[in-house]
Symmetry: C2
Subunit: 382 residues, 2 copies
Amino acid sequence: MRDVVIIGIGQTPVGEHWEKSLRHLAYGAIRAAMLDAGIEVVDALYVGNMLSGQLAGQEHLGALIADFAGLRGIEAMKVEAACGSGAAALRVGTMAVASGMHEVVLACGVEKMTDTSGDVTTSALATAADQEYEVSQGISFVGLNALLMRRYMYEYGVSHKAFAGFTVNAHRNGANNPNAMFQNPVSESSYLRAGMICDPINLMDSSPVCDGAACVVLAPADRFRGRAKALVLASAVATDSVAIHDRRDPLSLDAVAISSQKAYAEARVMPGDIHLFEVHDAFSIMSALSLEAAGFAARGTGVRMAEEGEIAIGGRLPISTMGGLKARGHPVGATGVYQVVEVVQQLTGSAGANQVKGATLGMAQNIGGSGATVITHILGAV
Amino acid sequence: MRDVVIIGIGQTPVGEHWEKSLRHLAYGAIRAAMLDAGIEVVDALYVGNMLSGQLAGQEHLGALIADFAGLRGIEAMKVEAACGSGAAALRVGTMAVASGMHEVVLACGVEKMTDTSGDVTTSALATAADQEYEVSQGISFVGLNALLMRRYMYEYGVSHKAFAGFTVNAHRNGANNPNAMFQNPVSESSYLRAGMICDPINLMDSSPVCDGAACVVLAPADRFRGRAKALVLASAVATDSVAIHDRRDPLSLDAVAISSQKAYAEARVMPGDIHLFEVHDAFSIMSALSLEAAGFAARGTGVRMAEEGEIAIGGRLPISTMGGLKARGHPVGATGVYQVVEVVQQLTGSAGANQVKGATLGMAQNIGGSGATVITHILGAV
């Protein structure tokens, strides 16, 4: 098995791209990544996307985007794992290079969630949950997360205010990221005053509906070490029951634990070695649960890392360093690739005002459903 | 890169499974394949599926099916390449084993197309075509194939009757396959009398809307050679423009040519060495075009192989040996895995009345869209 490195990154700004279709968004990220890598040809393209069939009436994104990006003829396919689709595409790209089947491949995540009515998007997002056991009962995806947050508050006796630090941190970092959807800082009082979406989740607990695309260029370390921007030290996937009621313990994200432990073992590191963590903060409750299951905080204490400022740039474990899903935005099938692009920015000292000093080891964790698919990548500086 | 072998196969009958949901269908195929392989645990599951988001309101099939199959926790994700999704999942599974990242993995194709209204299925299938340049003009997927068939008849001066041999052959073989949707032989006169769907494509030129699941178990040759049922000698993907108008020549399936040539090179064989060919006969025109582009017939002469009986069991190149997409059925995201399961049946002498005598080299080719994604696998007998 060959070691894999990242030799180029690209991203479009996250936002409402009314004037751009899926293929235009993907092209922007692909072209930027190929220019960054200094390459003109690639062997394969793996596209992470969740919603295009439902929202754009377009499946078959592999061939469609390969052709539009000027790469007609190459191997191409789409990979889907709900909101974890981006990292799933990266996972497949890593296998393609590690196996020796390909030399230089692209992993591109793309999603276009606007340009449709809100209820359509809400229904489409609910396909990440279990249709027959959850959605058919009338619950939405935010509703499922609200149940988890309520249970967390009840079981550990924490207030809604305890989660404020996640949002404040994400927006503070997003304010310095020119590609973030929200570049405005948010105060704790603004967080508390935000409109309720699904009690206890309010607007400021929720990542936005948005469009965007991100791309990385993967290549074998043996031939491309001199051009590497980061080393892929671990790539690990784990799953759990999609339906939350069917889990051993709804507040224990077992797939996060398994995926993280596999990744630590593969990279031969401990949680304490990680310099920054791009967490899947689709809702603030997911940040708390992920920090706990990944081994950064004891059970029931994930919120304390936010309350005590440990997650800030300069803190014990900076998270959502470029704004996270909350402020950079969460174009669902693209998010996993954005996270990895941002880790590469940190490891190459290109994170601007959000730079984590001396960062040489970064982790990105992309989640599909409410913890049902968890994909962890650990990257190392060159 | 490690060599990969198939150690187990499973399939459900193809048909209208009104009483079974997606997860039940997949479970049936997975369980059969694991029993066939004599294994109780696997490392990963790659699911090929195209339509579940649109037809069942269910994405996230990787985690969903892994859990339902009793495999909670393992790596799982969905792979999509329109009607080529099944072979795409097999392709990813092959990379997972070849890379050394996993030992024993499942590639499962599953599709449920019934249990909804026909116009919904027709619209969903059209997401394999280019929404912005083709479908938005009002054409359906069968309509695109009808344009290709009309052009073929015009350019080469062949009649509709010239295609009859493909359907007659498929139904003759399907009649001996207990898993086939259609187990009735069809005569040339029945073919000619069939109702018109989209001129010149009639009912007997078309594969059916149906449900089904198929699964293979993949493992490394070095550890599992003694339990191998077939060797994966080649796995190759190529793409073309999704929109047909944008191709160099609509009657030349360039991606079939590239994918086939890559596969022949990888397996170190010539087209003449292949003993049987599971062709993507979604429409009879696709059989003719595929035989030509894959190097089995000269341009414009693919139909002659049907007219002259060369495609029958015992002929020069038996195709659709268990009924093909036309008679076994075409549950779109599952088809690519069914094809490979059937090649394994042939290579292990388990094809019953349809056995190709002395078959040691079989090829399966799964196509997404009208030739936009083409995935070729060549398998060898142990």
